[in-house]
Symmetry: C2
Subunit: 331 residues, 2 copies
């Protein structure tokens, strides 16, 4: 069986210009991995540009801007002619499904452009000519690191920093259960290549708006502990967003705060979005209860420990329905 690493290296090396893309709403793994691959290819004379299907998140923008990475953001609409013919290969990282690449399929399928996928997600489709999928990898960045080492292309400080952003983002800074020995050994190597870990920590975790902390305070003031402290419920109303001038992205990670309490098995955050959409309910579990199965009953989904659902109801109604259903499962 041909080695997919070598096949991908050979195909990319033989290209003049590569278009790199990743999933909609890119996270740190998506941005870090695309950047690391662009920088690596640059070292062997292969030009590349990134196609982003959503805006570049402010939090991760430094990874691109510090390295003069050329990217095209089509969130607000595609240009009449994108110019795919300028590229020899489409390299997609951190997803293997068209649904995560809105607008790309209809534009790319009619072309003869070869497609490569590098990913660590279980859900995959079969449209790429070359695929490198390693589900046990904590991040796509781990696979990119292997590829760059095998190429071989020397990992410099810039590549190391991009890869470090990728792996720390997808593991919650080495905290989530996907963190494996490989992840720590890669981190050791990247630090030796010059990653300023202190700076990366500040950029990823100490770079929030004050509005976010005000919103967190509101959420914590609403905390209810139910079922002998096993169920934690917080809520944020439209008024909370207005008073604190925060927005929905500021709610990221707030749901984890009650998990620090010993007795809490499930944390719920009920959000009435300022934009009049449906009420959004996020769920986190420490493992005893499968919140994905719970969310599915309400048309939502996710993972066993992190799931979500939406309800067309008032904040109070949505809160009551979800809490009642959870309580009936926890007693």
């Amino acid at each position: 069986m041909p080695d997919p690493y070598r096949q991908i290296i050979d195909r990319l090396t033989a290209s003049r210009r590569v278009l790199v893309s990743t999933h909609v709403r890119p996270d740190g793994d998506a941005i870090g991995t695309t950047a690391a691959l662009v920088l690596a290819m640059r070292k062997v004379g292969v030009e590349s540009e990134v196609l982003l299907l959503s805006h570049l998140p402010t939090k991760y923008a430094f990874v691109y801007s510090e390295n003069q990475i050329i990217y095209h953001d089509v969130e607000k609409g595609w240009p009449e002619r994108f110019g795919f013919e300028r590229f020899d290969v489409l390299l997609v990282v951190d997803t293997g499904t068209w649904s995560q690449l809105p607008g790309l399929r209809q534009r790319v399928e009619p072309l003869s452009m070869p497609k490569i996928v590098i990913d660590h997600h279980l859900t995959q489709e079969d449209w790429a000519e070359l695929k490198l999928v390693i589900p046990e990898a904590a991040a796509a960045g781990e696979i990119a690191a292997e590829l760059i080492e095998l190429w071989p292309i020397p990992i410099d400080q810039a590549i190391a920093t991009a890869l470090f952003v990728a792996i720390t983002s997808d593991t919650g800074w080495f905290q989530f259960a996907n963190t494996r020995p490989f992840t720590h050994r890669l981190a050791a190597t990247l630090i030796e290549k010059g990653v300023d870990t202190d700076r990366i920590y500040q950029l990823l975790y100490q770079n929030e708006r004050a509005e976010r902390v005000a919103l967190q305070t509101r959420a914590m003031q609403s905390l209810e502990l139910l079922a002998d402290g096993r169920l934690a419920v917080m809520r944020l109303s439209r008024q909370d967003f207005a008073d604190t001038r925060a927005s929905v992205p500021d709610t990221e990670n707030l749901i984890n705060v009650p998990l620090q309490i010993r007795t809490v098995q499930v944390s719920v955050l009920v959000i009435e979005p300022p934009d009049q959409g449906p009420v959004r309910i996020s769920l986190r579990s420490k493992g005893q209860i499968d919140v994905a199965r719970f969310a599915e009953e309400f048309g939502g989904g996710g993972h066993a420990r992190a799931a979500g659902l939406k309800l067309h109801a008032t904040l109070q109604e949505a809160h009551d329905r979800v809490v009642e259903a959870l309580l009936s499962r926890m007693t």
Copy 2:
């Protein structure tokens, strides 16, 4: 020059029974490292017991209780005769100074018992016959791991877990600037030996009382952002402790919450303790301002990024004095 690792291994191997001790108010590194060494010596037939100068912290008690580690807690007073003569060696870890070992010096100095120190702190004294001090180690647990590997004693799941508690505690789960490539490589090895990292994370970071979260909410409600958002100040009154039924140890890490805000350079927490003692002021810095130097001006001390001081004043007076002094330095 003789190898201190080998000298210590030889001395411990030649002992029948070793007394292991560590600094007052033991942290995760102290508890994890003492446990790992007791377990390692047990594997080569050397009995050992731990002498704790403070109570075993609840958070880390599992490390001892799961491994039937014998320990003596003298926080409430020493027995009339401790029975030092039962031990051949005193092995002190995670400190090298008598001031961190209250009550031990006067009891041990008159005896002929040899003393060994394994530590990573810069401040050292010269009373131990054998010393192994590695200041660049992130934790004493890193040095213990090296010693156990060189012995050689196989690292089993129990030893690996104790060492993992040691290194994650002293690095804030690989976050502080002391985390080095060695730390990550050791973590990789320990995970391969069977550490349940998810369980350790829950025991160390998701094992708090609900009262703590209530107190955190109070602190966050008091948040002031001054000097264009560069200075964050929170306060907790005696009334806050009474209302939330929290106690002073519940304030641990609360001061870090405002550091998530991009603009904040210094975070201050002003605490009026429920026990009528002086007002306690904690200071944290992201690096631009040396809070140890600031604290020293008020008779306090600490590190450049984490310091503290005490003031005999009302909560409001203490708050005003510290804020005024900080503002004059930040403009």
